[in-house]
């Protein structure tokens, strides 16, 4: 029965949606954690240390998260491949003028995010926070320092902002889409859900984007 569900069009789509929903929750928590940066190096590093101290629990969470990502990507890939096959001959006249930018960019923003996440993991998660990179004014600032140093690099800063706008586009479609996919829909709320989706998407993207700008314009001048 489960096999039938997961191989059905709606089952696959709902799997994408439920994993997407988990990822959105993760993003919101991640953003909340990131906000410790406004409280200064000690608090931020302490937050990081607390996370580290979870030990095996953290590992478990990380593996679960990786699995969720993998499922999200794998099912999306299956759906996209099937969708391509379902129309072997395309239209000569342009057909998709009414499609919103967010939906049209969905696969591309998804790919940008995938690449970004890899670079992001190497930059922060797997990085050694005790090297000279993290030292500012003779202080070893740990992860905080690493973050600041990263965003001092304009290329990384711009790449980060591009990725976060991809997050914004991706989520502004995703949130209303997952509501629809789980059948949370009523004509009275359709426009509210679309606005909510757009609002949340843009809000999360802005929330993440303000941090590097804060670093660039506020922290860097004080540290150097």
């Amino acid at each position: 029965m489960l096999k039938k569900y997961f191989s059905s069009s709606i089952g696959k789509k709902q799997t994408v949606a439920v994993t997407g929903f988990m990822l959105i929750l993760f993003l919101i928590m991640h953003l909340a954690g990131n906000c410790f940066i406004y409280a200064g190096p000690e608090t931020f590093n302490k937050y990081a240390a607390t996370l580290e101290s979870l030990g095996p629990v953290l590992k478990l969470i990380e593996w679960a998260l990786t699995a969720v990502f993998a499922i999200h990507i794998a099912f999306t890939a299956m759906v996209v491949i099937e969708n391509k096959k379902s129309r072997p001959v395309g239209y000569a006249a342009s057909h998709y003028k009414e499609r919103s930018l967010a939906t049209r960019l969905m696969p591309y923003t998804g790919i940008i995010l995938l690449v970004y996440i890899c670079t992001h993991l190497f930059d922060f998660t797997f990085a050694d926070t005790t090297t000279a990179i993290s030292i500012f004014q003779n202080h070893q600032l740990g992860l905080y320092g690493l973050v600041v140093r990263s965003f001092m690099n304009p290329i990384k800063l711009v790449w980060y902002l591009i990725a976060m706008s991809a997050v914004g586009f991706h989520l502004s479609h995703a949130i209303q889409s997952l509501l629809q996919t789980f059948g949370v829909s009523h004509p009275a709320y359709t426009s509210f859900f679309r606005k909510l989706s757009l609002g949340l998407g843009v809000g999360i993207a802005l929330g993440f984007s303000i941090i590097p700008l804060y670093v660039w314009f506020y922290i860097v001048p004080t540290l150097i």
Partner: protein
């Protein structure tokens, strides 16, 4: 007022399901702006026939927007540029003199071209044969007023039941999905107490057949709703998603 239009048509011609198709260009001169799109094609076809060229094949029957037989993609839009309008109800006054009109069949793996603009929509019949009904026999039914049905529910069921099975939703969907069509029938029957009884088997079996036919997956872009000549709402798709999940978690 009557106007006379001079048009250029780029029409998909394909001899049969096995042949490769191509576009042909035809001049459509002196077309009355009051003619319907299909009447314009009739005029063009009559002129072709006189020249010994085989007319353009297209499906059509009632020509009043209810049978669901007609349909083609006109300049990239299923059933043409007017909303809530089947191709037979589209009139030439909505076009301008000297326009070039691109006419293509509905395209999907599950709607193979039979000839020119004619496509095979028998997949829709097969989907409905898996559950698009209430399993009652003729005779022996209770009095029609035995079960009251709230007017709001009956109206919602009627909204969904208006689907004409033209397949414009599939044609318009970027993924050639048939979700709007299938969900309209699932909703129509599930909303009524008569159909509610077997709603779980219905949604499970109809979705399974829909997948088997090779229709694409829904990506919630709602172009189906925009193209639907009967204004079938995407809330029906949401209802089907909900029911499908429920009947997968707790089968009938």
């Amino acid at each position: 007022m009557n106007e006379t239009l001079h048009l250029t048509l780029k029409v998909w011609r394909q001899k049969d399901g096995h042949s490769k198709g191509h576009f042909e260009t035809y001049k459509a001169d002196n077309i009355d702006s009051h003619a319907s799109f299909l009447e314009m094609l009739d005029v063009v076809n009559d002129r072709l026939a006189i020249q010994g060229i085989e007319p353009i094949a297209f499906d059509h029957d009632c020509r009043e927007g209810i049978c669901g037989a007609c349909g083609a993609v006109i300049n990239g839009r299923a059933h043409g540029p007017m909303s809530r309008t089947t191709l037979c109800q589209l009139h030439m006054r909505n076009f301008n003199n000297n326009d070039t009109i691109v006419i293509e069949p509905f395209r999907a793996k599950a709607l193979p071209v039979v000839k020119d603009l004619v496509v095979d929509r028998s997949g829709f019949d097969r989907i409905l044969s898996k559950g698009g009904f209430v399993s009652v026999r003729t005779g022996g039914t209770p009095d029609a007023n035995a079960t009251p049905i709230a007017k709001t529910k009956a109206d919602l069921a009627m909204d969904a039941a208006q689907c004409i099975g033209c397949a414009a939703c599939v044609a318009a969907c970027p993924n050639a999905a048939a979700m709007l069509f299938v969900s309209a029938k699932v909703s129509h029957l599930a909303l009524l107490p008569q159909g509610e009884v077997e709603k779980k088997e219905r949604v499970t079996n109809m979705v399974a057949q829909m997948d088997q036919e090779g229709f694409g997956n829904c990506s919630n872009e709602y172009l189906c709703e925009a193209a639907c000549p009967k204004g079938i709402s995407i809330t029906n798709i949401a209802r089907m998603n909900r029911q499908y999940l429920a009947s997968s978690v707790i089968p009938a």
